[in-house]
């Protein structure tokens, strides 16, 4: 069977795969293009010079290497928004953790791209789970402005950062209120003051004596004010969502993205009318705080039904990382069988972890989709990618096959048995 050949060849190939982009085709696979459509059976994906040439029905070309994908599924690489990939090693080991800079003297000007560790185990683990692109952000520190996030690829090479300063991240709602001094009122005052200072600098009339922000931080907000840089806003409560959407009336150029949005379903029509996209935790369903009283797993489905553009991010529960995105997308599909619940179709769910986050991040048509001209980010799965039993068997980024090994796979291989009759486990490597 070619399938087994394909599966077993993966590991060997991956070791030598860094040479460069391959021209190849995968035939006879079930192909999900990531654009929201249903999967296509017996389809072919063709990649040349690191880009998708075609994805759909039709024979493989005769002039390139063809892998028989019988029994496998092929999808675009996942694009996971708002991760911390490359910014930490161990959560509770502060020396290894660049996610949050609580004592920093800077805030909006912080640039997450400056700290990205392309060799991070979490990047390797996520890559092995089929994540090929991501945006990263810092957490909030001493300011409601968490700083500027970046877009990265997860390729096993030193060039992780695709776009530094991709967006600014501001924390409103309960958390923002606590940071700003104890009230949402103070958070909005901080926000208004920061944008005022940015506008004054932009106009060349900064009054140093009257400045609460450092110059770098105020300057960093100029592109936000001008709409040249996206502003991600974390809010959960329906009334907070409405308040944030209302900012557009004062700052007309803001390029907003809502993050969190547990009660988005309550104001779904309003969000849809605003055209502001959402990055939502897919299955929050508990009143973890007073700003999430209306949380329900049907939130995403209801927002999508209302016409909101929604990507899945900031995954609920656990610390298994972005590789669990398919499970959460699959849970939204599961809701279709639950009376009164609102879920996503399979195609919509796949889009919510591929093309939709790519589009929201400014990469529509480039990433998270298998269509001509898109990057050759291709994941071959051993089954339905949203199903719990499935996993990637091959991962390509820009047409380059990626290694799927990491600290975890090495531990797994060492401890497949506990035999130490000849030498201690430490010699098994």
């Amino acid at each position: 069977m070619m399938k087994s050949t394909l599966l077993t060849a993966a590991a060997t190939l991956a070791l030598t795969a860094q040479a460069g982009a391959q021209d190849f085709a995968i035939s006879n696979a079930t192909v999900a293009t990531g654009d929201g459509s249903d999967p296509i059976e017996n389809a072919t994906v063709v990649v040349r010079s690191g880009q998708i040439v075609s994805a759909g029905r039709g024979p493989a070309p005769s002039d390139i290497q063809v892998f028989d994908g019988t029994g496998t599924w092929v999808t675009p690489g996942m694009f996971m928004p708002l991760t911390n990939l490359g910014l930490w090693d161990v959560g509770a080991v502060s020396n290894s953790n660049d996610i949050s800079a609580d004592d920093a003297r800077f805030n909006a000007s912080l640039d997450a791209s400056t700290a990205v560790n392309y060799a991070s185990q979490h990047i390797a683990v996520s890559r092995g789970g089929g994540v090929t692109r991501a945006t990263i952000t810092m957490g909030s520190g001493g300011s409601i402005f968490a700083g500027q996030g970046a877009a990265i690829d997860l390729g096993a090479d030193p060039n992780a950062v695709m776009k530094p300063k991709a967006f600014q991240f501001v924390i409103l709602g309960e958390r923002g209120a606590r940071i700003a001094g104890g009230s949402r009122v103070a958070a909005f005052a901080e926000f208004a003051n920061a944008l005022r200072e940015a506008s004054e600098i932009a106009a060349g009339r900064r009054v140093a004596d009257d400045s609460m922000l450092g110059r770098n931080d105020a300057e960093a907000l100029i592109p936000v004010l001008n709409g040249q840089q996206q502003l991600y806003v974390h809010v959960e409560r329906a009334s907070d969502i409405t308040a944030v959407l209302g900012l557009k009336s004062k700052y007309s150029k803001l390029d907003l993205v809502l993050v969190g949005v547990s009660e988005g379903w309550i104001v779904a029509n309003q969000i849809a009318a605003s055209g502001v996209p959402v990055i939502a935790d897919p299955i929050d369903d508990l009143p973890e705080s007073f700003e999430q009283l209306g949380a329900t797993q049907s939130n995403v489905g209801r927002m999508v039904d209302a016409g909101v553009k929604v990507a899945i991010g900031a995954l609920s529960g656990g610390t298994a990382g972005p590789r669990t995105a398919p499970q959460f997308a699959g849970n939204l599909v599961a809701l279709n069988k639950v009376p009164r619940a609102s879920g996503l179709s399979w195609g919509e769910a796949m889009a919510a972890i591929t093309s939709m986050p790519a589009e929201i991040s400014g990469y529509g048509g480039r990433y998270g989709v298998l269509r001509p001209g898109a990057a050759g980010d291709v994941v071959v799965w051993d089954g339905d990618p949203l199903e719990l039993s499935s996993a990637p068997v091959r991962v390509f980024i820009d047409g380059i096959e990626q290694p799927l090994t990491n600290h975890q796979t090495r531990l797994r291989d060492r401890y497949r048995d506990l035999d130490e009759s000849d030498l201690p486990k430490a010699y098994d490597w």
Binding site: N84, W88, V90, G91, A92, V93, N97, I99, S100, H122, G139, R175, H234, A238, V259, E263, I266, I283, D284, D285, L286, P287, E288, S289, F290, L293, G294, A295, T296, S298, A314, L315, S316, G317, G318, T319, R323, T324, Q327, N331, V333, A334, L335, K337, V338, P339, R340, A341, D382, E387, L388, S389, A391, H407, Q408, L411, R412, Y415, R416, L418
Partner: protein
């Protein structure tokens, strides 16, 4: 969205989690009668099963919780108990028949490690009642005194997770965190109305980073792992002295420790690292108690042989790792490697989200094993979240499997429970239908949620 999704802080979660329990030892009789509150059984369970119709689930694939599978089978229950399980030839006369064609039946799911009620939603400081972090050893505290029965998390665990029993543990700030509360997942005005009748108490202990961090920061012992063991051992030595005496004077801490030494209270030990678990098992031998289960146990796969030899279960996540140093070596194959070694596996949540998806977590752990050639049948995997959990909690003679005479804690799934696309359709606790996805009113709504946005929503 919970903020920790962004910050990946070990702190909050690390403090919240821990415990272990062991295989069943002597279990008090599980009364359907209401026990009296006597000095021996203070805060006694007042739970009594709710009424339920004699019910026959017909035509479904049945996983019995102990590794058995029946295709197109029949499960009968009445008067709160399983009355029969078998093939299509089993008579359903006298029972209300529920068509289970294309569906699946399992025992009620059991979470051996939860903080529902003692770290409830909303997770505000006023509700943060899981860690009595004022002394490294607090065997005198009982989790049941912290459980808020109105935690909306119980209803989500029932409706989305099919959870019918759970163990609520104290947190892991302390070496000895206190007694656990074993509950039926039944809404009640009081915690007594949730307490699992006749369940033995668990005793929460914690290894490693949390106790030494919490007390080291206070400038007191323990501040190191060796300090952890020193405090533990001296506490046990003192406890043995009490236990070997006449026990006449009431001492809440000593009574709990004596209960452990007597084998009546089961130790649930939060412990991540393999080397540390090995030390704990030796400490238990030295002091004369046994560990029922190591909880979290992310490195259990490194010592599956020792765990098997000592008869200690590992209660684990499917794939959590990396949030703290002692979780750095977590791998998704942990459960499968343990199973291959013949050691006892339990999948736990330690999380108000994870408790809604224990079936999915078990499925992921199964799949990780399959990919390295360890094939574990679906029916055995269901045991990780039913019978094995019951065994380690000491309630396996009452629940955890579909056997005649046991509690009718039953889930009817709308599809394969090991598929991401399946959810509980109906959940019975002691034969009473407490969740029905097709009946909007047959789902619990806590006091806290009344009159709030989304009251009674599908969640």
């Amino acid at each position: 969205m919970r903020y920790r999704a962004f910050t990946i802080l070990g702190g909050a979660m690390a403090l919240a989690a821990c415990s272990a329990n062991g295989s069943g030892q002597e279990v008090q009789s599980a009364g359907s009668t209401t026990p009296l509150a006597t000095p021996d059984t203070p805060f006694a369970s007042t739970y009594a099963p709710y009424p339920g119709a004699p019910t026959a689930l017909v035509g479904a694939t049945i996983y019995d919780g102990k590794g058995g599978r029946i295709d197109s089978g029949v499960v009968l229950f009445r008067d709160g108990e399983i009355a029969g399980i078998g093939g299509a030839d089993l008579s359903t006369e006298g029972y209300m028949v529920v068509d289970g064609s294309g569906k699946f039946v399992t025992p009620g799911i059991i979470d051996i490690h939860s903080h529902l009620g003692d770290y409830p939603s909303p997770s505000v400081q006023a509700h943060s009642d899981g860690n009595e972090a004022t002394s490294p050893t607090t065997p005198d505290v009982w989790a049941e005194h912290s459980v808020w029965p109105q935690d909306p998390g119980f209803s989500r665990a029932l409706a989305n997770g099919g959870v019918t029993s759970l163990q609520v543990l104290p947190g892991s700030a302390n070496l000895m965190g206190g007694r656990s509360a074993t509950l039926k997942n039944v809404p009640s005005r009081t915690v007594q109305g949730m307490k699992f009748p006749g369940a033995p108490y668990g005793f929460k202990m914690a290894c490693g980073e949390n106790p030494k961090r919490v007390y080291g920061r206070k400038g007191r012992k323990p501040s190191t792992r060796m300090g952890n063991f020193a405090v533990n051992r001296q506490t046990w030595l003192d406890a043995k002295e009490y236990a070997d005496g006449d026990r006449d004077s009431r001492d809440l801490a000593q009574e709990t420790l004596a209960g452990v030494l007597d084998g009546d209270i089961l130790v649930h030990n939060h412990c991540y690292r393999a080397d540390e678990m090995a030390l704990v098992m030796d400490m238990a031998k030295e002091m004369g108690y046994r560990v029922s289960a190591f909880h979290h146990a992310v490195e259990a796969y490194k010592i599956g042989d020792l765990l098997k030899e000592n008869g200690v279960c590992s209660a684990i996540w499917a794939d959590w790792y990396g949030f703290k140093m002692e979780s750095y070596d977590g791998i998704p194959e942990n459960a499968a490697l343990l199973q291959k070694e013949g050691a006892c596996v339990v999948i736990h949540s330690d999380d108000d989200m994870g408790i809604q998806r224990l079936n999915q977590e078990a499925a992921k752990a199964q799949a990780a094993g399959a990919r390295i050639g360890i094939a574990i049948p679906d029916a055995e995997v269901i045991g990780w979240i039913t019978f094995n959990a019951a065994k380690a909690m000491g309630i396996d003679d009452q629940t955890g499997s579909l056997e005649s005479g046991k509690m009718a804690d039953v889930v009817l799934w709308n599809g394969d429970p090991l598929s991401v696309y399946s959810r509980p359709e109906k959940v019975w606790v002691d034969g009473a239908l407490l969740f029905d996805s097709s009946d909007p009113k047959r789902r619990p709504v806590s006091d806290f949620e009344l009159g709030q946005p989304g009251e009674g929503d599908v969640k």
